[in-house]
Symmetry: C2
């Protein structure tokens, strides 16, 4: 990653189950890791001001309200104009920050970003994209839940936006794009997926056809496109299964006295594997298609996830993600 310019990220101090402590710790670590990172910390004055006083790279921005994790997203965004989420998005719209990050109410973040930042011209539906690990590479899955339903046209836009994100964040000049389906052939899947296949084949550079569920853990393509229902199920399934399998491996390793000794020898190697699979290693998913960089973290984000998400935000800004998405959609429109 080249760090050629400073980046200001507006950070929701109150976002997530472990806020504000995990957020503040993550910000501290991110500032150490990236000396050109600046943070506009948004939240209650009694939290953000003392922190900003101790950190020269941090500016405090007061927000009197907090949107809870379980509030109805759209209603909360409308009602709480001085919430940390809405204020943070406004900083990006007004050019006072380059990106916004929150580990708070995902729906409220998407709703606020779309309302306040607006959409890139031509974008029908913003989509959440996440970076996932494969054995020796990383790949991108979208939509992982911004929209429960998608039309074929939406899926095609997701393909363009996902490819632009892959260029920026994976550093792949010509990303390959797969359409998630239930068979390799163009005739497999729902009528909607078949229609999207035809459109992508004509319109999406790097389109590599359908990918199936068993292809994707290996990272067969750089980008995998699906609707937000299937994508969310797939993402959570991968997280749940990785957790479950590692627990079973741990059980197997501690099933006898001899295996406990052996397991101690293997601990470093297995810890590396666990780290590779840890969703906190990526930290945040961008809402692609809004006119600004908006990175949304897991509600359960710990300090490591917050630090990683700020890295994703800075990479997206430095790689000019929004301009690249706008450009690829313009080219596709012809």
């Amino acid at each position: 990653m080249t760090r050629t310019r400073s980046v200001t990220v507006a950070v929701d101090a109150m976002g997530g189950d472990h806020a504000p402590e995990a957020v503040l710790e993550g910000v501290t670590a991110a500032l150490v890791a990236d000396p050109l990172l600046l943070v506009a910390l948004v939240g209650p004055p009694e939290i953000v001001h003392p922190f900003a006083e101790r950190h020269p790279s941090v500016t405090a921005v007061s927000a009197s309200e907090v949107i809870g994790m379980d509030e109805h997203p759209a209603a909360a965004v409308r009602a709480k104009k001085d919430s940390s989420i809405v204020v943070g998005c406004r900083l990006v719209r007004d050019g006072r920050a380059d990106a916004f990050f929150s580990a708070g109410n995902t729906g409220a973040c998407m709703s606020a970003a779309t309302l306040v930042m607006g959409r890139i011209e031509g974008v029908a539906r913003p989509a959440l994209a996440t970076i996932l690990p494969a054995r020796d590479r990383r790949w991108i899955l979208l939509d992982v839940g911004a929209n429960a339903e998608a039309t074929a046209e939406h899926l095609v836009q997701f393909a363009h936006m996902g490819a632009a994100y892959a260029k920026v964040v994976l550093g792949v000049p010509r990303p390959t794009v797969g359409l998630l389906s239930i068979g390799e052939e163009a005739t497999k899947g729902t009528p909607l997926v078949q229609e999207a296949h035809g459109m992508m084949a004509e319109n999406v550079p790097g389109f590599a056809g359908n990918v199936e569920g068993d292809d994707i853990p290996g990272g067969k393509t750089d980008v995998v496109v699906t609707d937000g229902f299937t994508g969310n199920v797939a993402l959570k399934l991968m997280e749940g299964l990785a957790r479950e399998l590692l627990a079973q491996v741990k059980d197997a390793l501690t099933s006898s006295a001899a295996s406990k000794v052996a397991a101690a020898v293997l601990k470093p190697a297995l810890s590396r594997l666990r780290d590779d699979l840890d969703p906190d290693a990526v930290g945040g998913a961008p809402l692609l298609g809004v006119d600004g960089v908006c990175i949304i973290g897991h509600g359960s984000s710990g300090p490591r996830a917050v630090e990683a998400a700020l890295g994703v935000a800075a990479t997206a800004v430095r790689g000019e993600l929004v301009a690249k998405i706008a450009h690829s959609l313009e080219c596709a429109a012809g």
Copy 2:
């Protein structure tokens, strides 16, 4: 499993990538494991007759045609009336066998079973159900690919059929049923899933609400219901991810000389884990809703998968799966 009666399973000798060898080996093992099992082996005379002569529990049934793995299912079933798949289904329809098993062309098996055996009264769409492992239990996922699309009514029927299968094959008297969605609340998911949620809440005994992707590897409910697109993606994703993670664990275990020694100590425990996760351990998925027991195996089935699938077939017959599905749909219809 109580083995109180003999069961005759019609077996497609030509089904799967490793047929006929893997099928014949699996049949041999299944006959040893279950002395009350009888097999009607369907296929080319030169294969089925010599085998039947060597095994007193096996009857040979000649079929002159074979449907290839890549043939168009419906067209092949219409054109090849003397194929092992069509002949095997006919044996069930005519009462000459209690169940049919094939590891051949999945679409052709579904098509032939539906056409030849017919559907249980009231069933709109048959669904493929598979048994999956959780840490200390097993659970059932359906539909894993019989229909790419489903209406809310179809999903409700899948719930009833899945629960009947759980009673028979898991031995759970009152199975819990979850609806796969992207949030716990009834208002989450597509409009179709929300509609199905409302209908299941009123109509499906044991309905436990929505389950999410990260719940399902732990086996939160005995049955998980979804459409065939999402279910197929989820099933293949679990298979692919388990394979990938175990490969990574193996890499970690053999990364140094010391860890190789340690890994040798752990080998038995890890082999048990691998066996637990092996899709061959279950072997076959029934097509629920057809008027007969039809078990369909992976194209890649080895002897162990064939043996396991014949066990599933016998359990389904002895547990009166078809009658139980018919009964639960009658009760639901009121």
